[in-house]
Symmetry: C2
Subunit: 193 residues, 2 copies
DNA sequence: CTCCTATCGCAACTTTGGTTGCGTTAGCAT
DNA sequence: ATGCTAACGCAACCAAAGTTGCGATAGGAG
């Protein structure tokens, strides 16, 4: 009747989640199978099937587990610099074949399971909330109107990059990141957010 | 040795593509299997496997086949009205559970096959090119600087909507569409595109 | 220390997506 | 009209994902 979060269960869970990340980094969403993850984790596949059920649940769990990973909020001194830094971080991630696999797989999983979709939504909501700090600082400095929707400005900054990656298939680089950030900033300065 | 594009092959292809759309509208990407499509098309599954191979190829083919479908370019008299119309069309599509399945499935397919990815890229490149007409008219009317990148303005208008649908999982409505269009327009007027 | 049971390992089984070999049908050319 | 062959239908086959029943193991409580 009693749960056992401190013992074997915790070890198994940690091993499986680590294996999920490792498999994801290697082969992306396509190569991510329950069996491969189980084998790499040194665990039997039935264990994974019983506790998670599908690869999408695995990704959802891995995503929630990684939310507390530290992500540095940029602080360059100006909103423009900060927003460009945020955008450039996204652009660099997608430009790197090794690092892009994880977020791409997350989106793929979110398209197939509601658990993964919710986990992804929470992940990005959290990240946006944290990134919104650069907007708060800007408002405090008088760079932006006090009515500015901070999170919306962050969304507007990142959206064009994701759009290129997932919809139009166009490359993302520093130039695109700067343009996105400046465009979003122009809207904010115009008091549209 | 001779090809036979006019006879049975053409009928089979049309039936299969129609069945692909129908299956897609019903159950989305998850329910889309080669067997279901073949059965609905009144064709044996081996035929579909031999000519297309995977569901992603099916989607890619269906997408290329639907590219010539007419899509009305809005003409409200002002750029703002036109851009809002473009954005609202996207928002309405994603807000309708029946109509959203197709584009969502296309993105899902694009994440798993390069053929689907290329087909999707071509599809949206074509649509952007056509929608860019509203920008050309605006430049002709003197509403926007002549240096404006028309396609980039269209991308900026649509990006936040797709971002909400595929990344943050937030709803899209008329209000979001208007804000996206106005934000993109502000950037264009500032000469940032 | 000892018992209880949640959880895991294992092997066998079921289901389903995908493949192959072969005979049949139906366009197209002559 | 008639022969040729590309394309299709069919059934049997293969591989891999996912399931189930059962015995074994190891935390945690008393």
């Amino acid at each position: 009747m009693t749960a056992r979060p401190g013992g074997r269960s915790a070890r198994v869970r940690a091993a499986v989640i680590d294996a999920t990340f490792a498999e994801l980094a290697e082969g992306g969403y396509l190569r991510l199978t329950v069996e491969n993850v189980a084998t790499r984790a040194g665990v039997h596949k039935t264990t994974v099937y019983r506790r998670w059920g599908t690869v999408d649940e695995l990704i959802a769990d891995a995503l929630e587990h990684s939310r507390d990973a530290d992500w540095p909020v940029p602080d360059t001194g100006s909103v423009e610099g900060d927003l460009i830094a945020v955008a450039d971080d996204v652009a660099r991630t997608f430009a790197d074949p090794a690092r892009r696999t994880a977020p791409v797989a997350v989106v793929a999983a979110a398209l197939q399971s509601s658990r993964a979709r919710e986990a992804m939504a929470r992940f990005y909501a959290d990240r946006h909330r944290r990134a919104a700090e650069v907007v708060s600082r800007a408002v405090a400095r008088g760079e932006l109107p006090a009515t500015t929707d901070a999170v919306e400005l962050i969304r507007l900054t990142c959206a064009p990059l994701f759009y290129r990656v997932f919809v139009t298939g166009e490359p993302v680089d520093r130039e695109v990141a700067e343009r996105s950030a400046r465009a979003a900033l122009a809207a904010a300065r115009a008091g549209l957010l």
